[in-house]
Amino acid sequence: MSIQFVIAVTHLVSRKRPTLVSLVGIALGVAFFLAVSSLMRGSERDFIKRLVDNSPHLTVYDEYRNPQPQPATLRWPDGAVELRRVKPLREVRGIRGHAQKLAFIESLPGLRAAPVLVGSVVLTFAGRSEGVTLNGIVPAKMKGVSTIEDKMTQGSLEALAAHPNGLIIGEGLARKFGLSLGGVVNAVSPAGESRALKVVGIFRTGNAGYDETQTFALLKRAQGLLDRPDRVNRFILQFDDPYVARDVASLIEARIGYKAVSWLEASEDLMSVLLVRNLIMYSVVSAILVVAAFGIYNTISTIVMEKVHDIAILKSMGFHARDVRRIFLAEGVLLGLVGSLLGLGLGLGLMALLVQVEIKPPGATDTVHLPIYWGYDQYLLALGFAMVSAVGAAVLPARKAARVQPVTILRGMG
């Protein structure tokens, strides 16, 4: 242990009260930082979880992000001739070579994927017609990527496997048609195909629009009905960690060419609002640490003033200016570090208390716990801010101490 550090420790230990006050300042700052940060980040996560769970983490569409260039522009990139009435080539929509592409996506770790064919059909029952979205799915795969299974109020996804002509509809639609489990509806596609489908399941997500317009059938049946044999126009992906979706999206897009949209991209405006919210929150809680830093500044300045004779004697003994500066910077580091550790303990205690708080939102039936975020990044942030404030507070007194001229002090004594 360097002698500078020993002197720093001695200074602090011999001045118990100001040292303690400084420590308490930093500790309270860090604890408050953590309590607020864990609450804000926790509620943010909670909010995002709701957002994320009810929509795919990543969707691969049978589209390109940028329109395919016209052959004429490829041939004459600098050509001045403008071609009018150019239309993209007619092609059968859908993801080409979807089996290999899906196999590639499924080979990536930490995710599950399901192929879907989405199209529009008109359902007719008892003289009533409704245009709905038909999702052709593979039930076993769909279970891995969607929470729809948990939202089933009657029947199940597996029932589709057992009944090739089965159809799953939302509660809203069922009410509209007066349909119940086992009812048979007629489905007509824009391709002109028509088929009788039997309701084998009813779901309720709580989102009225979704419950009235979304229906599910077997992929094979949907392909037949929409007259798109062996076609798939979407992959739906679900991740263990939703936050990797953005990176995986660009990887997939680069690899297979089709547009891959992550939930982060789909809700970019919301994410930027959350980012701003976090910035404001961290500015406010860091300001508390800056206030605590004044306590440290005061303590170290007082020590420098009281110890000006010691500084003179150390320098006359052969200590460098930077040795002296280090002594007082070390005091800042020590106060910051010990204060942060105390604050970390206090903050964790606060968080443990907060997580037990139960609240009953107005109108809700069941109580909920406050969402608390436990991620380590906020501890590092708190520690970082505390250390920067503490060392920052020590810089000026340390510089003043380093500048003390021994003769000036000695003359004053003589």
Partner: protein, 248 residues
């Protein structure tokens, strides 16, 4: 008069092997003026040589510039004119770092007021310069500190804090600390100024013995005539100038 430093040193960075045999400490036209609206002259045109192993007393009326001269000789203050030679080296060429390093290894200070660090034990105070220099392992340094205290009759006081000692004891601790890194030169500013006659005699004897037994060079500012008469040489300072025929 054989004034080594005044004849230009042929090789300012001396070869490692060759030992400088001239004066250990020399002042060459040394002057110090405090700048200000009315500049104050502390020391004027002081030229003197101090030989190895010499015990020198600096005397003079109060306010004549004795302390100021000592600070210049001890490289604590920077002269406004002239220069200080230490062991044949021109210290006016030194930067901050080299000055500090030289004070650490080659110079020991003893002041009128003991100037010990109050939070440290007596032993730790003596250890301070050794720990800063880091030349001795901790064990060896502790042994040396204990030996020094023993030598000055403080063998059983090492664990005490400075405020638990008498003035004379503290001054002996300060001497032990000044000697910690075994510097060739010890500078003392009224080391007995605050002590009764018995403690004074003790400190005087110790400083005297340093020159005789350890070959140290001791330069001490003093008002004490008994102290001065024990010295090999007395230098009178009046109004910042050397006064050859000054008598207290």
């Amino acid at each position: 008069m054989n004034r080594g430093p005044l004849t230009p040193n042929p090789s300012p960075t001396r070869d490692e092997g060759s030992q400088w045999s001239g004066p250990i400490l020399a002042a060459e036209n040394l002057g110090r003026v405090l700048p200000g609206e009315v500049p104050v002259t502390l020391v004027q045109d002081v030229t003197l040589d101090i030989e190895r192993g010499e015990f020198v007393a600096i005397m003079g009326p109060s306010g004549s510039g004795k302390s100021s001269l000592l600070y210049l000789l001890g490289l604590l203050d920077t002269p406004t004119s002239g220069r200080v030679w230490l062991d044949g080296r021109d210290t006016s060429r030194f930067g901050e770092d080299e000055l500090a390093a030289t004070r650490l290894e080659n110079l020991g200070f003893v002041f009128q007021f003991h100037f010990l660090l109050a939070e440290f034990t007596v032993l730790d105070n003596v250890l301070l310069p050794m720990r800063r220099l880091g030349a001795r392992p901790e064990e060896k340094a502790r042994q040396r500190a204990a030996d020094l205290l023993q030598q000055f009759g403080l063998g059983d006081q090492g664990h005490k804090r400075p405020h638990q000692l008498s003035g004379g004891q503290r001054q002996r601790v300060a001497i032990a600390r000044a000697l910690a890194n075994d510097p060739p030169v010890v500078l003392a500013d009224e080391p007995t100024g605050n002590l009764d006659s018995r403690a004074s005699a003790n400190v005087r004897q110790i400083l005297h013995d340093l020159t005789r037994e350890l070959g140290k060079t001791v330069v001490a500012v003093t008002h004490d005539l008994t102290f001065a008469s024990a010295a090999d040489r007395r230098i009178g300072i009046v109004d910042g100038l050397i006064a050859p025929d000054w008598r207290a």
